[in-house]
Point group: C2
Chain length 148, copies 2
DNA sequence: ACATCACGTAACTTCAAGTATTACGTATGA
DNA sequence: TCATACGTAATACTTGAAGTTACGTGATGT
């Protein structure tokens, strides 16, 4: 399997959208994310359904953030992109006849479930505003030739 | 991506090997795991390198567990199969120029790292003996027509 | 000796899911 | 009315585990 970058990309894009003046088109977003406008629309569709963004057609159309960054957590975005599978490792057979394998499954499921619970909790604790604040900090301390 | 079942399979197989009289051939193991002998050899090679099992060629050859189930944790097996990637979700770009994306990466990496640390700790806490004990419990309470 | 057994490994194919691309339809607004 | 921008179906690409085929090597029993 390939890595699922949807959560990462949407977080990135939402913060850019918050800083943008007007709507951001799929084409502009695709440039930011180094991808394709269709991929943007496809992924953003989930965020629109979740009530995080709005989409408008025609001239001056595009995508608009309709929540403040304080109101949106990483977990909200994770859910909005469809709660993709978290783990790349898992059970060989989810419903085995073999009792040994059933015991293995119970043990692995227990470990994975705890890690997943931890991750969900972590994601629920991070707002986009906090990430944006970290960006501001990085921005003001960036190395640049523009400084006097 | 497809699910990585190597850890699950090796846990299953090691417990069967502990209960077996002599060595278990790759063909017999493949039958247990509903897979192919080559897949078994390929995966077991890591366990042999890690000192968990021994392989012998020729008649009466096959795979033998050379540790007791008490000595082996789920984490040992995870490491022995090559510490496969844990998460199916991740960063779109590991080294982005964009400072916003850098902040997103930092935030996501932090959450993922904590979950991974939790999972590693969980895996290190579970011995194969504990899983085997759970199997025994399932075995003795199984529904069967053989009971009087 | 030598046939058989079992592992060792290279090479190739299959499979799944995210990602990328093309194409076309629909709604908006200058 | 025509350019703009989203909506979405269809198709191809990518990546890594899993599955297969094929052949080589070493060990054992007759």
């Amino acid at each position: 399997m390939q890595l699922d970058g949807r959560l990462s990309r949407m977080l990135h894009l939402l913060i850019h959208m918050d800083r943008a003046e007007g709507p951001v088109t799929s084409a502009a977003a695709a440039d930011m994310l180094h991808t394709n406008p269709v991929v943007v629309r496809r992924t953003m569709a989930g965020l629109r359904d979740a009530g995080l963004v709005r989409s408008d057609k025609g001239h001056a159309g595009g995508w608009t953030l309709i929540k403040s960054l304080e109101e949106v957590t990483m977990l909200d975005v994770y859910k909005a992109v469809g709660e993709p599978r978290i783990f790349a490792i898992g059970l060989a057979d989810a419903a085995p006849h073999c009792l040994v394998e059933q015991a293995v499954n119970a043990s692995m499921t227990n470990a994975l479930r705890r890690a997943e619970t931890m991750l969900i909790a972590e994601m629920g604790d991070v707002t986009l505003a906090e990430i944006a604040k970290d960006f501001e900090s990085r921005f003001s301390s960036r190395p640049t030739n523009l400084k006097i």
